[in-house]
């Protein structure tokens, strides 16, 4: 199988890569671009650990082909902080102990950021249903939901 050249934008920077037609965007990010923040927990869209933004919407990168990145705008966890300044969600997650092993955390942060951009003042139930596709096995979700709400309040108020 020949590789296909793809030009895209990742975290605001232009990027180019070659990939096979059947490689997923997740494979490309991790194996070809060294962006290992997105994780493969299942490869079938059931866990959300591979979540990235694709043209402004949160997707499972394991369910997107690498070639579909052509001309698209992609945002990954690596682009969430601004230089050395963490995004409020990132900072609040640490402060509120909303992570333990941390492997689900990049996906949850990307998904939570997408929620707050769409709905800056969600109820707990809305947060829980939005994040239903992001599995966490360590925390029982409690501190995650609380951290999202604390960050949301800060982002509304600040």
């Amino acid at each position: 199988m020949k590789t296909i050249p793809v030009e895209t934008t990742i975290n605001g920077d232009s990027a180019e890569f070659l990939c096979h037609a059947d490689e997923s965007l997740l494979d490309v990010l991790r194996d070809r671009l060294g962006l290992t923040g997105a994780k493969e927990g299942c490869g079938t869209g059931d866990c959300g650990a591979c979540s990235v933004m694709l043209n402004g919407r949160v997707v499972c990168s394991c369910l997107v082909l690498g070639v579909e990145a052509q001309g698209a705008e992609i945002e990954t966890i690596e682009g969430m902080a601004n230089g050395e300044t963490l995004h409020p969600l990132q900072r609040v997650f640490i402060e509120e102990a909303a992570l333990q092993c941390g492997v689900c955390t990049p996906g949850i942060l990307v998904a939570a950021k997408a929620l707050l951009e769409k709905n800056p003042d969600p109820t707990d139930t809305e947060v829980r249903y939005w994040l239903a596709g992001n599995l966490c096995r360590c925390t029982g979700y409690d501190k995650i939901i609380k951290a999202v709400q604390i960050a949301a309040a800060e982002m509304r108020g600040a």
Binding site: M1, H20, D22, R30, D31, T36, G37, A38, K39, E40, G41, C42, G43, T44, D46, C47, A49, T76, I77, E78, M80, A81, L86, Q90, R91, F93, I94, E95, E96, A97, L99, Q100, C101, G102, V103, C104, T105, P106, L109, D124, T125, V127, R128, Y129, L131, A132, G133, N134, L135, C136, R137, C138, T139, G140, Y141, D142, K143, I144, I145, K146
Partner: protein, 745 residues
């Protein structure tokens, strides 16, 4: 090492909520987990697995696969050593089968190739000649004489004659006169229970990058709960010396016991040795379910007698567990834990293990206890209902306390069960009103907690900071807690201490991260190492001040004269002492090696409110509160995190998680779509109440907390459902089809 009673201590660091050291790396995606590292020239490994639950492997023909361009090495079980030690031999055979495939998914061969897709194609070209054999996946069926035999000659001597060869062990615990006890009861209830196997469900699949040269020297990067265990297993499986392997533990994306053994590292090393290149293997989710280490599946009988005012007079349990296709001892712990919460005159538990054609079981958070205690707590609850007694009062009446002779032998020291029960009784949750189709349930929980082999090395850096080197992968925030204990002991701020986890070449042997042992044992060793460093710093200062060593004390991070007789010397801070260490004898360090004992058991109580839809059997968790004795909560956020995380795993176990086998012995739900772990919208907030009854065996009173919280949810939910829906669920999970059937008949 005893609890520091005289330090009726005003802790300055321990007990506060500091930021964890790995936080920034984890929220930015920088943290490196098992699959995140690559090496130049590395090959990709892929494993071929048996599609049969039980089959003799007559021949393996790799010739077609070997011809595929890009394939650099192929291995089978013949490429691994045959360790004499049974435990190592079982691990090696589980990594690559020898003469038989023992379960659907058992590894039979592996390939290393220049790309993932070539490796995938290559394993499909390997031809395996199987002779399919009859299989057995149910524990009761496996125990019957005449059942298909999974492995021959594996039974221990204490197994009575005439049983199937699948029965490998028998345990018995207890004391007192059962017959007399039951005779005193006003009511006796006997019930049988069955539970399906479950999986730890860590989000990160096993992954490793391994390199092994012809000279027997190798390196492995892997996600694991024990790099020393990986080293030992790999050395035995590859026939090389342990000291020649350096194993580095990556950040770990969840373990819960499921990464306390090796499945892919020996295979990657064997491929690397053959190919002369590093080999990376990452398991798919499908492989994780089929071929790592799920829990036991169980069949249990419980019989309990109670007087009409709630005193348990006798309890008997028979536990039949299956740990998969190899001998397994989890039932030992289940049998010990089953009645541990109670002060009983007459109690007996008998535990059996039987082999089935299922994956090799390894621990999952309090292994053996959740299912056993589910059964016991269900029967206790049913007795409460039958005798119209308050379930909390009955627990209080029968609770184990200091001085109770436990059901498994030892006499309890200070324990926190009564405190947790009283806290539950006083909590508003216990008396909150309930609506139609709603019910409240409770359950006690227990875990032994362990100590174990531990090494810590603590270095006073020349800039006045402190480095702690320990050997236990951090699965719950332990690096922060270790740093806190070092900071507390040394009297320096938390952010002056950095704790790192050593590879196997950089520190002496450490037992795996399990048994809720790290905050306890590594903490204890860290405190001792800090005290050793303190003694050395005081010795140096005594020399400087020209006074006796015992005239120098350590206080608030400084060496000080012990009293006015020692003379007037301004205190010397750790930083000041460190800055001149080169002139006073050289770098300053403390270290400690121990096989720690004195771990304190941790009791907990969970309260749960459920609502059951009478037309569909759907169960909603309305409210959940976890009460647990932590001894001393070093970092309260992390203790809460363990309580919440363990409770939710138990909720999943109770409601929807199960291994589903077909008639053909194959696993039907090897994915996260149909292996149903709780999602965020399934749950309410999980409220936590931490009790602190200090463990006499630890200087700060620390008890392990990680495992106890998974134990109570199974019965708490079954008991709540019983009151919400009027049915007693004796089979787990209580999935809606089962619950609806029980309700409607």
């Amino acid at each position: 090492m005893a609890f520091d009673v005289k330090a009726e201590r005003k802790f300055k660091v321990v007990g506060t909520r500091v930021a964890r050291p790995d936080g920034i790396d984890k929220v930015t995606g920088k943290a490196a987990y098992g699959a995140d590292i690559s090496a130049p020239g590395m090959l990709h490994g892929r494993i071929l697995r048996s599609p049969h639950a039980h089959a003799r492997i007559r021949a393996i023909d790799v010739s077609e696969a070997a011809k595929l361009a890009g394939v650099k090495a192929i291995v089978t079980g013949a490429d691994l050593a045959q360790p004499e030690d049974e435990a190592f031999a079982d691990v090696a055979i589980n990594c690559l089968a020898r003469d038989k495939a023992l379960y659907d998914g058992h590894a039979v061969a592996a390939v290393a190739a220049t790309s993932k897709s070539i490796a995938k194609r290559a394993i499909r070209l390997i031809k395996v000649d199987y002779e399919v054999l009859p299989h057995v996946t149910d524990v009761d069926a496996a125990m019957k004489p005449g059942a298909p035999v999974v492995q021959e000659g594996r039974a221990l001597e204490n197994v009575p004659a005439g049983m199937s060869q699948n029965v490998t062990t028998r345990y018995q615990f207890g004391h007192g006169d059962l017959d007399a006890g039951f005779a005193k009861a006003d009511r006796i209830i006997e019930r049988s229970f069955k539970t399906a196997a479950t999986h730890q469900g860590y989000i990160e699949p096993q992954a490793c990058l391994a390199s092994l040269g012809n000279d027997g020297r190798g390196e492995v990067w892997c996600c694991t709960q024990g790099q020393y265990m990986v080293r030992a297993n790999c050395a035995a499986a590859l026939g090389v010396e342990e000291s020649q392997l350096r194993i580095t533990a990556s950040e770990i994306g969840g373990g819960f016991g499921g990464k306390t053994s090796t499945f892919i590292e020996p295979v990657a090393l064997a491929l690397s040795r053959k190919a002369g290149k590093p080999v990376k293997i990452v398991m798919t989710r499908d492989e994780v379910f089929k071929a790592t280490g799920p829990t036991i599946s169980t069949s249990m009988d419980i019989r309990i007698g109670m007087t009409r005012d709630g005193r348990i007079t006798a309890g008997r349990g028979e536990l039949r567990y299956s740990g998969g296709a190899y001998p397994n001892e989890t039932v030992d712990m289940g049998a010990q834990a089953a009645f541990a919460a109670y002060d009983l005159e007459a109690v007996e538990t008998v535990g059996w293990n039987a082999m089935t054609n299922r994956p090799k079981e390894i621990p999952y958070r309090a292994p053996g206890a959740p299912t056993a205690i589910y059964a016991v707590e269900s029967v206790v609850d049913e007795l409460c209902q039958a005798l119209d007694l308050d379930p909390l009062d009955v627990r209080l009446l029968n609770a184990a306390r200091k001085g109770t002779r436990s059901s498994y032998g030892p006499t309890f020291n200070e324990i926190g069960l009564v405190a947790t029960l009283e806290a539950a009784k006083a909590h508003p949750h216990y008396t909150a009103p309930l609506g139609p189709h709603q019910g409240r349930g409770l359950s006690c929980g227990f875990w032994f907690n362990f100590g174990g082999n531990t090494c810590v090395s603590l270095n006073i850096n020349d800039d006045g900071t402190v480095g702690v080197v320990e050997g236990n992968p951090d699965i719950g925030g332990s690096r922060a807690s270790i740093s806190m204990m070092a900071a507390e002991e040394l009297g320096v701020p938390y952010d002056k201490v950095r704790t790192v986890i050593a590879d196997t070449s950089s520190l002496g042997f450490n037992d795996i991260t399990d048994g809720s042992r790290v905050t306890f044992a590594v903490g204890l060793a860290t405190i001792e190492a800090a005290r050793a460093a303190i003694r050395e710093m005081c010795r140096r200062v005594a020399k400087i001040w020209d006074i006796d060593e015992d005239a120098v004390i350590w206080e608030d991070g400084c060496a000080k004269p012990a009293g006015p007789n020692a003379g007037t010397h301004p205190p010397m801070s750790l930083a000041e002492i460190a800055a001149i260490a080169g002139n006073t004898g050289g770098p300053i360090a403390g270290h400690h090696e121990v096989n720690a004992d004195g771990a304190g058991v941790s009791f907990g109580v969970h309260l749960c409110d459920t609502e059951v839809d009478p037309e569909t059997g759907a169960t909603k968790i309305l409210r959940y509160t976890v009460f647990q004795d932590a001894g001393k909560a070093v970092h309260p956020d992390y203790v809460e995190g363990q309580m919440q995380g363990g409770a939710v795993q138990g909720i999943g176990w109770a409601l929807n998680e199960e291994y589903i086998y077909g008639e053909d012995g194959r696993l039907q739900n090897a994915g996260l779509l149909d292996y149903r772990v709780p999602v965020a919208s399934d749950l309410p907030d999980i409220e936590t109440v931490i009790l602190e009854i200090p463990n006499p065996g630890h200087p700060y009173g620390v008890r392990g907390v990680g495992e106890t919280p998974i134990v109570p949810p199974l019965a708490a939910i079954a008991n709540a459902v019983s009151r919400a829906a009027g049915v007693r669920m004796t089979e787990l999970p209580m999935s809606p089809p089962r619950l609806l059937k029980a309700m409607t008949g």
